[in-house]
């Protein structure tokens, strides 16, 4: 059958480009594979070697508070960032006048360019003292909610502060992504809604949000991925302890995996290093699971979106 077809002309440019694209694609898989292999290989001595003081009660009771802290901090961050990001994106795409929208979009993108160590410093020196009175108020008035209970931190270096810092850090990428998706809402859908007598808010509810839902979810998952792995800002801002704690206003907070590695690695020796790498493997697994869930949600939601 191939004989009957005229032989395709293979030009040099095509060959070179096809190979370049192929290697680019494969390099991602190769990098991922080597990282996973490294984590696996380096984790083994933590389980086979001599017992480690830090994990005297076994690996899982060692890593549990960090897993909890990682997820908790990220969820708080995301809970704050998602509505904000949707609001920013809607404002830029549908409400602000064009010049101002451009300036605002640029300002949001600029937030993404701030290094995390600067966010950490800002968190300690500006945000934490600034939030401290609010924390006292929350504790005094809403202290019956377990989240806001306990002895309020005097410095404000708490889980809630970390959540807010994380929210600000993931905001730019989420807002930018959601904005692009809102801008792609089919004009006809919007005009049809308006023609039926919908107000602007009703139009957004009927046309823009359903169309953008998968985009919002994937933006949130991208943000979550960044929040889960954020290291420096958390290590600097959070006052950690090796406990599982739901309280967000106290000095005793569950640390995150990434921040714990950053804090303990410099002075770690022997197979304590391997133990820390093993917690890194756990983080790797959590991130993979989160991404897989996101993929699944998006693929499931795609058929309901207004794009069809």
């Amino acid at each position: 059958m191939t004989d009957t077809k005229p032989k395709a002309v293979r030009r040099l440019g095509d060959v070179v480009f096809a190979n370049l694209a192929f290697f680019a694609g494969v390099s991602i898989l190769a990098t991922l594979a080597t990282v996973a292999a490294f984590l696996f290989a380096q984790s083994v001595p933590a389980f086979t070697g001599p017992p480690i003081d830090a994990a005297s009660e076994g690996f899982f009771s060692y890593v549990l508070p960090f897993v909890f802290g990682t997820v908790y901090a990220s969820v708080i961050g995301l809970a704050i960032a998602t509505p904000l990001a949707v609001g920013i994106a809607l404002y830029i795409s549908h409400f602000a006048n064009r010049r101002f929208a451009q300036v605002l979009g640029y300002a949001v993108d600029l937030l993404a360019a701030i290094p995390s160590v600067v966010y950490g410093l800002w968190g300690i020196l500006v945000l934490a003292p600034f939030l401290s009175p609010t924390f006292n108020w929350l504790n005094a008035n809403l202290g019956w909610i377990p989240m806001f209970a306990g002895q309020v931190s005097a410095t404000g270096r708490t889980m809630l502060t970390v959540g807010i810092v994380l929210a600000i850090m993931v905001l730019p990428i989420m807002a930018a992504l959601i904005r692009e998706i809102f801008l792609q809402t089919p004009r006809l859908h919007e005009e049809a809604a308006l023609a039926l007598g919908a107000t602007r808010w009703e139009m957004i509810k009927m046309a823009v949000l359903p169309f953008g839902r998968p985009g919002i979810i994937s933006a949130a998952m991208l943000g979550l991925g960044r929040a889960l792995g954020e290291t420096m800002a958390v290590a600097m801002v959070l006052s950690p302890a090796a406990v599982v704690s739901f309280a967000v206003l106290t000095s005793t907070n569950s640390n995150t995996i990434a921040a714990n590695i950053a804090l303990q690695f410099p002075e770690a020796g022997g197979n304590y290093t391997n133990l820390l790498i093993a917690t890194g493997l756990v983080l790797f697994a959590i991130t993979m699971v989160v991404n897989m869930i996101a993929r699944w949600v998006i693929s499931r939601r795609a058929e309901f979106s207004g794009a069809n």
Partner: protein, 369 residues
């Protein structure tokens, strides 16, 4: 084509510039500097000296290396702040010629063979780095407080929770202590500073501080964690009613605690920190070239400040490689010299070793073969 030529020219130019930089730093110097050096030293030293170990003295090592390499342009000294345990392990593998360590040789380590040293010979050690640890606090209008060791332990163990506690008030007559919650800040990363500070607490108040000398903070003692010395200092500075511990050089404008030694309350100072090392006994059963010191946290020597971090310099008495012996002799002599100690103190804010300790250390160095 034109662009490519330009690029090529640029690349060539930058290579030249980079090569120029490298030449300035290179080990083998031009004869001019050899001539200049010969006025002071008879033999021009050349070679490379590798060491690793405690990160606590990294700032000091940087200052020492810079000064030593200017005086001896033919020598390159490397110090890798890998941490004390790794540093000693690397020395025992023969990978390095000297080591800096926050703790002295363990008895079992001294039973091993040392490949850098002549077969059957042992390593020496002596304190080279004394760094007072200040107990810092942030209270409006109060710049100094007196505390007994048990009070400090009570605060950091979470038992004393208010600034107007009777234990604090009793030691500070006339000071208006506020009715304010105490927030005790500790290191969230593992560090020799925590270990020495908690060793002090465990020695002076074993009934209050029951977990001994530790690096990882016990959860049951609560308090607030902060990353590194600067993290602790900024947490203490940023809060109200906070207290923490940090290298004294970073205490800045914060209030500091004078701790009870004998019948007096002693504030940290370079002299007081060096004094406690002199007043502490050597570890028993060690050779004359082993100045391992058991810091006496309960010292009653007047003017001694017991919360110090002491790091040791370690090397061979008899190097397998004689060229290394010569380099180490010059290097170690510079480190213990008044000039060397002051250079480190100027850049890192630690406490120079006393003249008495210097003489003992120099005797060990002079015997290096």
């Amino acid at each position: 084509m034109n662009n490519i030529l330009k690029l090529g020219a640029l690349a060539a130019a930058s290579t030249l510039v980079l090569a120029g930089c490298a030449a300035n730093e290179s080990v083998v110097e031009t004869p001019t500097s050899a001539a200049a050096g010969s006025t002071e030293t008879v033999v021009e030293l050349t070679g490379t000296l590798n060491g690793s170990g405690a990160s606590s003295m990294a700032a000091g090592q940087e200052a020492w290396i810079a000064a030593f390499q200017i005086a001896n342009p033919g020598v390159t000294v490397n110090y890798d702040p890998t941490g004390s345990g790794t540093g000693r392990a690397q020395f025992m593998e023969g990978a390095t010629s000297f080591t800096g360590s926050d703790s002295y040789w363990k008895d079992e380590e001294l039973l091993e063979a040392f490949p850098s040293c002549e077969v059957g010979t042992m390593p020496w050690e002596f304190p080279i780095w004394i760094s007072p640890i200040a107990v810092i606090f942030n209270l409006d209008g109060i710049s100094s407080l007196n505390m007994e060791g048990a009070t400090v332990a009570g605060i950091f163990a979470g038992e004393i929770t208010m600034w107007n506690d009777s234990a604090i008030a009793a030691a500070n007559p006339g000071v208006a202590l506020p009715e304010l919650q105490i927030t005790a800040v500790h290191r969230s990363d593992e560090s020799g500073t925590s270990k020495n500070f908690t060793d002090y607490l465990a020695k002076v108040a074993e009934n209050v501080w029951t977990v001994g000398a530790i690096e990882a903070w016990p959860v049951e003692y609560g308090g607030e964690g902060a990353q590194g010395t600067s993290g602790v200092v900024s947490a203490v500075t940023g809060g109200n009613g906070t207290i923490g511990y940090a290298d004294a050089s970073r205490a800045g404008d914060l209030g500091t605690v004078a701790v009870k030694v004998g019948t007096d309350f002693v504030s940290y100072s370079a002299e007081a920190a060096a004094a406690v090392v002199d007043a502490s006994p050597l570890v028993e059963g060690r050779e004359s070239y082993d100045l391992a010191t058991k810091i006496d946290r309960n010292t009653t020597a007047s003017g001694a400040y017991p919360i110090v971090l002491v790091s040791y310099l370690m090397g061979c008495n008899d190097y397998a490689d004689d060229a290394q012996a010569e380099l180490v002799r010059a290097w170690a002599s510079f480190l213990v010299s008044e000039e060397g100690q002051n250079a480190a103190a100027a850049s890192a804010g630690n406490a120079p070793i006393s003249a008495g300790l210097r003489a003992k250390a120099q005797a060990i160095i002079d015997a290096i073969k």
